[in-house]
Amino acid sequence: MDIKDLYQEIILDHGKNPRNLGKFDNYNKDAKGNNPLCGDNVHVYLRLNENKKVEDIAFEGHGCAISMASASIMTDMVRGKEEKEVKEIVTDFLGMIKEKDSLETNILKDDEKTKLMSLSGVKQYPMRVKCATLSWHTLTSALDNSDQIIKTEE
């Protein structure tokens, strides 16, 4: 495996210019996540409307290219989706990062899956998996209204 497979252009792009970075006023769910080993942190804000649809989502935080790109791509992908769809995507993504070769959900379009699969390179770098998953665990925590701060040490 080449290091370029980990640092694909799309990762570098999202890492350098993360989409949805910041905070918006009328969010109704949020959660914080920490990576105590490296000091990375993320704070996910989202607005679920009465139909349980993610109306808006954004994040604050700092971290490596992998964690920033992951949060950036994630927030792009779940906007406009229903809560239960978001949860399915999260489960699918975490399953792919941990063990599965591909994404199985029907919720995502092929081009979206391709985009997410750009993060699959971290599988070869066990110490970096937590960088890719931090924002996703934090999103789950926000949806579940959990007050617990997410830590990536499992």
Binding site: I3, L12, D40, G63, A65, Y125
Partner: protein, 405 residues
Amino acid sequence: MKIDDIKREFPIFDDKIQNNDLVYLDSANSSQKPRVVVDRIYDFYTKEFSNVGRSVHYLAVAATNLYEQTRVSVQKYINAKDKDEIVFTKGATEAINLVANTFGQKYLSEGDEVLLTELEHHSNYVPWHFLRKAKNIKIEFAEINDDGEVTLEAIEKKITNKTKIISVSHLSNVTGAILPIKEIVQLAHSKNIPVLIDGCQGAPHLKLDMQDIDCDFYAISGHKMYGPTGIGVLYAKKKWLEDLPPYQGGGGMINEVKKEGITYGELPNKYEAGTMATAQVIAFNESIKFMEKIGIQNIEKHEKELLDYGLEKLRKNNSVNIIGNPKEKGGVISFTIEGVHPHDIATILDEDGVAIRAGHHCCQILHDKLNLPATARASFGVYNTKDDIDKLDEAINKCKKIFNL
């Protein structure tokens, strides 16, 4: 022993790691182990093993002697007055916890102050934080200056009539700053304040003379001194070890145990409860001998040359920003690259076999002060060469290329 031949003494460099020659620049985290140390552990377990200090059979007596020989070696190595001033612990962390716990029990109460610095490792902050929670004491931090140093003046500024103990690093594991510990001890003693030195980074790289430094406590980590993991040393002046209460209770540290009460053992047993890391202590003697054979002056000189070479090289490398510029500096270079997060640097360097550390290096207070979430760090040991630094520089260039810098 010629300094250029030292790499050969370390079996880890014999084989390729992930198809690369290993460029190990993470010695501030933990050093590699010379063959003599590895062999000693094997030999002890295969030919000489017994628990120490208890049974009277041949192996027990021989193992006890070996164990105590390390104590004497350490005593001589750091020029302690008495071998009983050497207490074995599982590491420097436990050594600091021992002092914080026992000194705290006896001498600290609400409102008292403990003086640390902003560049302390978490292991010299968290144990004191426990006391802050338990006893409502206060923790003060002497400030670093723009060069990443802590000066004597910075310490003096924070001393009050409530300061009960000062606990500072010998050498910063991030900026590499060597603190003026002798002067700090003199100043503290003039105000009757005892001083603990966290010597994790000092002991592997600098000449140690407890009579000259005159500190009350000095914490040493074995695994950073080419020794095994699971072994550390607390040096403490005898008056303290006699005065302070025991730390952990168990076998080996007692004198007499009755239903009505217990009396504790003599030094140094009082602080060594339970079965200690016997093989590691015995092998640690080989680390001391190994360092003595090279000569600490030669180690200092070699690492200074590497540091100067490394600083010069990395300063020339555009977009590399070196953290801190202390006048007295050990073999540690922490840096950032504009536009590349330290974790990404570390992963990309690792691809070429260049092992560095990225993160806050267990110094979050310092990184908050520097306003950096993380840094990349290259740190040196006796086995490093200028070639290693060239490879570091090349790998940094590759990193910049991947990130289109």
